[in-house]
Symmetry: C2
């Protein structure tokens, strides 16, 4: 007996690796060790439902581990610092791709438009709240938050393209120091 939640990490990894279009049921079956029977028992909606569940879990993880602390945790500086730590760990120093980012670039964006949108809106907003709590004015917070999230996404692209994970770590360090000096 296998539960949905147990399969989600493997599912997520497959979707990250191959994108939505590139992920076949054969790949999913291999990655999870489950036959089609089990897969369609767990996810009657097929591939689309699997992807939706994966996104939902990712979203929940970010909400609990990043967004909420950014909005609520004191001191905000610490929440921001934790965010960078979590991001570094979650994306495996740029070796792991952001599934939501990948979906945003593809045609599959239409299928998951609202989830993709919400993920990024809430990330940017939560970060802006934290920056405001640190002492920035509204406009600067919003702008910097946008810039930071974009920089993280871009660093993933670049780190993968150059096959140079250090670039990702470096980008995060730069962002950290930028937040620190801007806050001073």
């Amino acid at each position: 007996m296998t539960t949905r939640t147990e399969t989600l990490p493997a599912l997520a990894e497959v979707f990250r690796e191959h994108g939505y279009a590139g992920t076949s049921l054969a790949l999913i079956s291999a990655a999870t060790g489950l036959g089609k029977g089990s897969l369609y028992h767990l996810f009657p909606g097929g591939k689309a439902e699997m992807a939706a569940c994966v996104i939902e879990e990712i979203d929940a993880w970010f909400e609990a581990n990043l967004y909420r602390p950014l909005r609520e945790q004191d001191p905000p500086e610490r929440a921001i610092s934790k965010m960078f730590e979590s991001v570094e760990r979650y994306f495996r120093s740029g070796r792991r791709v952001c599934l939501v980012g990948v979906l945003a670039l593809g045609t599959s964006r239409d299928l998951f438009a609202e989830a993709v949108r919400s993920y990024f809106v809430r990330w940017v907003d939560a970060l802006a709240v934290a920056l405001r709590r640190v002492g920035h004015n509204d406009a600067a917070s919003a702008a910097l938050a946008e810039e930071i999230v974009a920089q993280i996404q871009g660093a993933i692209v670049l780190a993968r393209a150059l096959d140079e994970p250090a670039l990702f770590t470096r980008a995060l360090a730069t962002l950290r120091s930028r937040v620190a000096t801007a806050a001073g």
Copy 2:
């Protein structure tokens, strides 16, 4: 009679829209108006060759319109400014995706690893050269160049995710002013 070069723009658009895995010969046929016969006549290597040709053309375009000016054109400030203009236009204010970036995120990266790597390495390097020519020291130039290219890629992701092209334009404006003030 149709030449290879004539089909490349349509081909590029399809690959951008659907990614490598998501692009089927049926889509290609529809986008180019060419049957399989013609397609395989022009590109005996099939899908892989088509994508390779598209990348090559994109690469050549960036080399001629961005990289070379960044390295050679005087004054460098003008070359950098032109780069931002070209990027804004080329990526249609973030409505159009960067194919090379998309490939970098997917499994197809392996197929085109060297081309993808070279595209970004040369972009970063050319921009670093320009920044050095403006007066930055070596380390600062390299770091800023990396940051700018990553920011552009990330802004594309974010602009698409939020369906908000203005975000892309805004990101470019911020980068411009950052280059300007850093240069002062």
